[in-house]
C-alpha cells in the first residue's frame, strides 16, 4: 500500500510540468522542492538531534554567495558547485564547534549570533558581497547539455536533487548513526555512559545538515540568479524553522509539508488574500492548538483516529466466551 502511494506520488511529481497549467506554478513547485531540501537539512538537527538552530540561513547563504562569486570569477558551474559546498562544509564545521559549546537555549542563541554575524558581514563586506545590492549571475548550468534555463528543465533538475537529498537523509536516519543521533537527543547521559562520543555525533550531524543546506542554497542561487543579504537574515532562518516545526520535526515528510505550506502561503495565497501574513500566523497557531507535533504527525494521528472509529466494534460476546487464562505463572 505504502509502496503504491509512494510510486504514485513520484509519478505525479515527475509529470508535474505536464499536468500543472501554468509555468508559474511549476516554478512554485521548484521553490517548494528547494526549500524542502533546506527544511529537511535543518530537521536533521532540530528533529533528529534535538538541537534548534536559528542561524541555518547563514549556511544556506554562504553556499549561494560562494557559488555566485565563483561563477562571476569565471569558474564553470561544476567547479562553482563544488567550491560552494566545500565552503559550506568548512563554515558548518566552524559553526558546529562554536554552537556545540552550549545546550538548549544556549545553542539556539549561539546560532542566532552566528547567523546575525554572517548577515552583518554580507551587508558590510561590500568589496566581496556587493552589500545590499546583491550579486547576480547570468547563467544556469547545463548538465549533460540540457540547459536549465527553461522552467520545466529546472524543475526536473531540482526534483532529481530533491529525491537524492530525501534518500540520503532517509538512509542516514535509518542507519545506526541516525539511531545514535536520536539517542543523543533523548538520553544524552545514557549514551555517554554507553561510550558514545556525543560531541562527535552532533558535530557530524551538523556537517551533514550543513551540506544539504548548501545544496539548497545553490539551488536558490540558480533559481533566482541573484543572492543578497536578505537571504541570510534572521527572518529567513526563522522561516526555515517554522517549516520544520509546522510540518512536524523528526519525520521525513514533515519538513516537506511545512515547506509547501510556507511557500504556497507566501507566494500563491498572497495573490488572493491581502492579509496573508495574518492568515499564516493564524495557521501556525491553529497547528499548535490542534496538532502540536506538526501537520504530518497530527494528520497521521487524525487518520488513525478516524480509522479506529470506522472499524467495527470487537463484540463483547467473543471476549466473554473465551475462558480466562489462569492468572499467575
Amino acid at each position: 500500500m505504502r509502496r503504491l502511494t509512494l510510486a504514485l506520488a513520484l509519478a505525479a511529481l515527475a509529470m508535474l510540468p505536464l499536468w500543472v497549467g501554468n509555468s508559474y506554478y511549476v516554478n512554485i513547485a521548484s521553490q517548494i522542492l528547494l526549500y524542502a531540501i533546506f527544511a529537511l537539512a535543518l530537521n536533521v538537527l532540530v528533529g533528529y538531534a534535538g538541537l534548534v538552530s536559528l542561524g541555518h540561513a547563514g549556511l544556506f547563504g554562504i553556499a549561494a554567495y560562494a557559488g555566485a562569486l565563483a561563477i562571476n570569477n569565471g569558474a564553470t558551474h561544476l567547479v562553482a558547485i563544488v567550491a560552494a559546498l566545500a565552503a559550506t562544509l568548512v563554515a558548518a564545521a566552524a559553526f558546529a564547534v562554536l554552537a556545540l559549546r552550549g545546550t538548549g537555549l544556549g545553542f539556539v542563541m549561539i546560532t542566532v549570533a552566528i547567523g546575525q554575524i554572517v548577515w552583518g558581514v554580507a551587508y558590510r563586506w561590500i568589496s566581496i558581497t556587493n552589500g545590499d545590492n546583491g550579486v547576480a549571475i547570468n547563467t544556469r548550468p547545463s548538465p549533460f547539455g540540457l540547459s536549465l534555463t527553461s522552467t520545466p528543465n529546472f524543475y526536473w533538475a531540482t526534483l532529481i536533487v530533491f529525491l537524492v537529498a530525501v534518500t540520503a537523509i532517509a538512509i542516514v536516519a535509518a542507519s545506526p548513526f541516525g539511531a545514535s543521533l536520536r539517542g543523543t537527543r533523548d538520553q544524552p547521559r545514557r549514551m555517554t555512559a554507553l561510550g558514545y562520543h556525543i560531541w562527535l555525533i552532533r558535530f557530524l550531524a551538523f556537517l551533514f545538515s550543513g551540506l544539504w543546506s548548501g545544496v539548497a542554497g545553490m539551488l536558490f542561487l540558480y533559481y533566482n540568479q541573484f543572492i543578497s543579504p536578505q537571504a541570510v537574515a534572521l527572518g529567513a532562518s526563522a522561516e526555515a524553522l517554522l517549516m520544520v516545526i509546522s510540518g512536524g520535526s523528526g519525520t521525513l515528510l514533515g519538513p516537506i509539508v511545512g515547506a509547501a505550506l510556507v511557500v504556497i502561503m507566501k507566494n500563491v495565497v498572497s495573490a488572493y488574500i491581502v492579509r496573508w501574513n495574518f492568515v499564516l500566523g493564524a495557521i501556525f497557531v491553529a497547528i499548535v492548538i490542534f496538532m502540536p507535533e506538526g501537520i504530518v504527525p497530527g494528520s497521521v494521528r487524525l487518520a488513525r483516529w478516524c480509522l479506529a472509529k470506522l472499524r467495527p466494534q470487537v463484540t463483547e460476546v467473543t471476549a466473554a466466551a473465551t475462558p480466562r487464562p489462569e492468572s499467575g505463572l
Partner: protein, 286 residues
C-alpha cells in the same frame, strides 16, 4: 572628551530602555522556560495602543500605564488559551509565539497604517538638562529614573513579597511547588501577564525615542534576546546588568568601530556564550 561623556550617559539611558524591554522576557523565560518570541510584537502593540489613547486626549503617563495594562491583559489571554497547553514543548512554543507575532504585526498594520507615527515627549521632560557642563536630553534622564524604579519594584516583588517567594519556588522546582500547594498554573498566567505588560509599557516609554512603525517588533526582539542571554535568563539582576553592558557595547562599539557596526552586539554575545554558555549571571542548566 565630550564625546565619551555623551556616549557614557547615553549608554546608561539606552541600557535603561533595554532593561524595560527585556525584563519581561527574562521573567517569562526564567519562570516558564518559554522563549517568548512575541515579545517584540507586544512592545510594538503597547506603543500603538498609546498612540490611540493619546490621540483620544489622554496624557502620556496615563496612556503608558493603560497601554501596559492592555497588553498585560492580552498576554494573560494568550497564556491561558494557548501557552498553557504546551508545557515543555519548546518547538510548539516557538511556533505559536512566532505565529502570534505575525498576526499582531499584521493587525497593527491594518489598524494604524504603514506610516511611522511619533509619540510626543511628555511636556514635563522636554528639552535638555545640563549635567556636568553639557546638555543631555531630559527625557533620557527620566528614562534612567523609570528603569531604576521599575527594577527596584520588580526586585521588591520577587524578593520581598509572598508572590515573589512563590515565583521563586516555581522557578526552582515547579513539581514540588505544586505539592506544597502553590497554584503554579495561575502563577504562570500572572507572570506572563506581568512580562507582557512590561513589554507594552516599555514600548510606550521608548516611543518618544524610537517612534512607532511597522517592523519595530523585529528591530527590538534581537536586542531583548541579546540582553537576556548576556545577562543570564531568569535572573533579574542579570537582565539589569546585561542591559547596561549592552548599552555600553552599543554606544561605544558603534562610535569606535564603525566597521563592525552590524556585529557590534552579536560578536561579543557570541564570545561570551562560547566561553560561558549560561550567560554572565545565569546558572548552569541542571
Amino acid at each position: 572628551m565630550n564625546l565619551w561623556l555623551i556616549l557614557a550617559g547615553n549608554s546608561i539611558a539606552f541600557g535603561g530602555l533595554l532593561f524595560l524591554l527585556s525584563a519581561g522576557f527574562s521573567l517569562i523565560f526564567g519562570l516558564m522556560r518559554i522563549p517568548n518570541l512575541t515579545h517584540g510584537s507586544l512592545f510594538m502593540l503597547g506603543a500603538y495602543f498609546a498612540v490611540s489613547l493619546i490621540s483620544w486626549g489622554l496624557g502620556f503617563w496615563p496612556a503608558a500605564i493603560l497601554a501596559g495594562l492592555g497588553v498585560a491583559a492580552f498576554g494573560g489571554l494568550v497564556e491561558r488559551l494557548l501557552l498553557r497547553r504546551l508545557p515543555g514543548a519548546e518547538l510548539a512554543q516557538v511556533l505559536v509565539t512566532l505565529g502570534l507575532s505575525f498576526m499582531i504585526a499584521d493587525i497593527c498594520l491594518l489598524g494604524w497604517g504603514g506610516d511611522p507615527i511619533s509619540i510626543a515627549t511628555p511636556s514635563e521632560l522636554r528639552g535638555a538638562s545640563r549635567i556636568a557642563g553639557f546638555a543631555f536630553p531630559t527625557y533620557r534622564l527620566g528614562l534612567i529614573v523609570i528603569a531604576i524604579v521599575v527594577a527596584a519594584t520588580l526586585w521588591g516583588l520577587v524578593d520581598k513579597t509572598r508572590l515573589g517567594a512563590m515565583i521563586r519556588a516555581g522557578v526552582d522546582d515547579p513539581a514540588i511547588a505544586r505539592v506544597v500547594g502553590i497554584r503554579v498554573s495561575r502563577l504562570f498566567t500572572i507572570v506572563f501577564s506581568l512580562g507582557a505588560g512590561l513589554a507594552g509599557f516599555a514600548g510606550v516609554i521608548g516611543g518618544p525615542i524610537l517612534s512607532v512603525y511597522p517592523g519595530l517588533d523585529q528591530d527590538m526582539l534581537p536586542l531583548a534576546l541579546v540582553v537576556v542571554i548576556l545577562g543570564g535568563s531568569g535572573s533579574l539582576v542579570g537582565s539589569f546588568i546585561g542591559s547596561f553592558v549592552v548599552g555600553f557595547l552599543y554606544n561605544f562599539g558603534q562610535a569606535m568601530f564603525p566597521e563592525l557596526a552590524y556585529v557590534v552586539l552579536f560578536l561579543p554575545m557570541l564570545v561570551i556564550l562560547v566561553l560561558r554558555p549560561q550567560g554572565l549571571f545565569g546558572r548552569v542548566a541542571a
